[in-house]
């Protein structure tokens, strides 16, 4: 239990998101609901040209991000050149539109939380990962530590911000704003164990219907981050959605790093002593 491990004596079940992208319609109600509820500032009006996506990606002021991918399906094999212009194969397959609402993964082994030097990032009793904005000192270490590119610095105040999985709403028994606003139940909120079981069933149904590309992402407790509290059903490879295919929490290698730093420091000390003659 991730919350118990973090020191919570009487935590409830771990809560999370299951984002089923096969039923996402790209309405962005989640983005808007998140902004409104959490009072997240403007993330800029910048034309991207990424299909219907003008919010670019997750960041300090974008806690839900709907990706839009236009592709021919089934994608032609390697060797079929892409035209440099629109990213679509020249021929073959049917046009399809993938939409996916991305969010903080609330990792079981969260690099942002591990590397935070102030304790601003903490594990809640729901098993989620939240930044305490009154403790964050703007060091920015969590930003390059996150293997998913989620948490980011707000330039105006220097501190970092990300999805809280609506900690305030959870506290009073409400579901997160994005899940509440989602009209297709693409974003499902609930107990993680229950969501994982439902997601496995959903993949099976899709496979039976011939959607061979359906796969779960982040549902495996044995993966490099110990499984994620927010996981996904995707219809293509993760990198197509801008997600890392096999993320690993950077602190997995930290014990080895500390040992090497100690050996290197001793080697330098020995060199200095040997040089002083």
């Amino acid at each position: 239990m991730v919350a118990t491990d973090a020191g919570w004596a009487d935590s409830g079940p771990r809560m999370g998101f299951f984002t089923d992208t096969s039923v996402c319609i790209g309405c962005k109600a989640c983005e808007v609901a998140c902004k409104e509820w959490n009072h997240v500032p403007d993330d800029g009006l910048r034309f991207s040209g990424f299909s219907y996506d003008n919010s670019w990606g997750l960041g300090a002021d974008t806690w839900r991000h709907v990706a839009f991918i236009e592709q021919r399906h089934p994608a032609p094999g390697a060797g079929d050149g892409l035209p440099a212009g629109d990213g679509l194969p020249a021929a073959g397959g049917e046009l399809r539109w993938l939409m996916s609402s991305d969010v903080c993964k609330h990792c079981t082994r969260a690099a942002c939380l591990d590397v935070c030097p102030t304790g601003a990032l903490f594990r809640t009793e729901f098993g989620t990962v939240v930044v305490q904005s009154d403790v964050c000192n703007g060091c920015g270490y969590c930003v390059p530590a996150c293997p998913y590119g989620v948490i980011d610095q707000r330039k105006e105040d220097g501190r970092v911000w990300k999805c809280t999985l609506c900690y305030d709403r959870l506290k009073v028994g409400m579901e997160p704003a994005c899940a509440k606003a989602c009209p297709t139940r693409s974003i499902q909120f609930g107990e993680l164990d229950v969501l994982r079981a439902e997601a496995a069933d959903r993949v099976e149904v899709l496979h039976r219907r011939g959607v061979a590309g359906a796969r779960l992402y982040g549902d495996d407790p044995g993966d490099g981050v110990g499984g994620t509290g927010a996981f996904f059903l995707l219809l293509d490879e993760p990198e197509v959605y801008g997600l890392p295919p096999e993320p690993v929490v950077t602190t997995r290698d930290l014990p080895s790093m500390w040992k090497r730093a100690a050996v290197a420091a001793l080697a330098l000390a020995a060199t200095v002593v040997a040089a002083a003659r």
């Binding site: 990606g57 690099a111 293997p147 930290l254």
Partner: protein, 344 residues
């Protein structure tokens, strides 16, 4: 970071980089890759980075990596030469260490935005956070290094006058003992991230930084002390420089794809200049050992080489984080190599 200009064959999104400089195409090169066949390895979300690149300013953080190394190595050499009764190097190296760590603290506080924010670093001690560990190391080392230099030259009033020497000695020894740790923990600091060109070098980075620190602090000795008295500094500089160049080679050879960022673009230019200066400085330190001028010039080259190495490492990390290829392809290769994968 050059602004992106839309070019032929570019995605229609070739507008200017976002005003905040955070998201957007890293360079024209990355967009060019979209013309490749649609292989798994080449795919990305419109060429967008998977990671959020470091928000740190190079001058603050790469500058600190260099200054911290210079300070730590100098404190160690100052303490070691004095313990062995070697005269001449102690004072200038202690001064250098105090100046370097003082500037480091300014750089680190500037990075946080407000001085008061540094106190939050001392709320907790977290071994899982190299920055937390580093803050505690610096909170002992910094005052010790500065006291060792100040008490060396500033007399204490009245009754404290007799305590000055013992205090100075204690501060100098403390700084000397912690110094080597100050130089290597920063290797862990950068490696303990998801940045491909940093994490990919986690095995060698502490050795690279220790070597670079030895080269810089030895260089400071060569620059400030006549060659007759600078032999220990010369030995440290040469050993450090060789260690730095070797560790870098090993690191790049083991890293795989992200290693190429150390040879490309601005990072490539910084690393190339660093290598040239370090090799020139090492050669000068050995060949010009009898000349004050040649030794001083060699010392300056080594200092500059060490600084450029840190800026180069920093920049390579930024470049590797800004291009999704360096995140996706090594992970794809790991998956493919796993037993049970279709291509294994």
């Amino acid at each position: 970071m050059p602004a992106v200009s839309p070019g032929a064959g570019s995605h229609p999104a070739g507008g200017p980089r976002p005003a905040d400089g955070r998201r957007g195409f890293p360079d024209g090169e990355a967009r060019g890759r979209r013309g490749r066949p649609d292989t798994d390895a080449g795919r990305s979300y419109y060429g967008q980075p998977v990671l959020n690149p470091p928000t740190w300013a190079a001058l603050d953080i790469a500058g600190y990596l260099f200054l911290g190394g210079l300070a730590g190595g100098s404190s160690a050499l100052a303490a070691a030469t004095e313990a062995k009764g070697i005269e001449g190097l102690g004072r200038p190296l202690r001064m250098g260490a105090a100046g370097a760590i003082g500037l480091s603290l300014v750089a680190l506080v500037h990075d946080l935005g407000r001085p008061g924010r540094f106190y939050n670093m001392l709320r907790v001690f977290k071994p899982s956070s190299p920055m937390s560990v580093g803050s505690w190391i610096l909170s002992v080392y910094g005052p010790a290094a500065i006291a060792a230099a100040v008490l060396d030259v500033v007399p204490l009033p009245g009754p404290l006058a007799s305590a000055r020497r013992p205090l100075q000695k204690a501060a100098s020894v403390t700084a000397g003992l912690i110094g080597p740790v100050v130089t290597t923990y920063t290797g862990v600091l950068v490696a303990d991230t998801a940045v491909p060109a940093w994490h990919g070098g986690y095995r060698e980075m502490p050795f690279l930084f220790a070597g670079s620190a030895g080269s810089a602090s030895g260089g400071l000795g060569l620059l400030t002390v006549p060659p007759m008295r600078a032999a220990p500094a010369r030995r440290l500089a040469v050993t450090g420089a060789v260690a730095e160049l070797t560790a870098l080679r090993v690191m790049k050879a083991r890293m795989g794809l992200p290693a190429e960022t150390y040879d490309q673009g601005r990072a490539g230019r910084l690393m190339k200049a660093a290598e040239t200066l370090t090799v020139a400085g090492t050669t000068g330190a050995v060949v010009g050992r009898r000349s004050r001028l040649a030794s001083a010039a060699a010392g300056a080259c080594l200092l500059a080489g060490s600084a450029l190495t840190r800026f180069g490492v920093f920049q390579a990390g930024v470049q590797s984080a800004e291009d999704p290829r360096y995140t996706v392809e090594p992970q794809r290769a790991r998956l493919a190599a796993r037993p049970g994968s279709p291509s294994a």
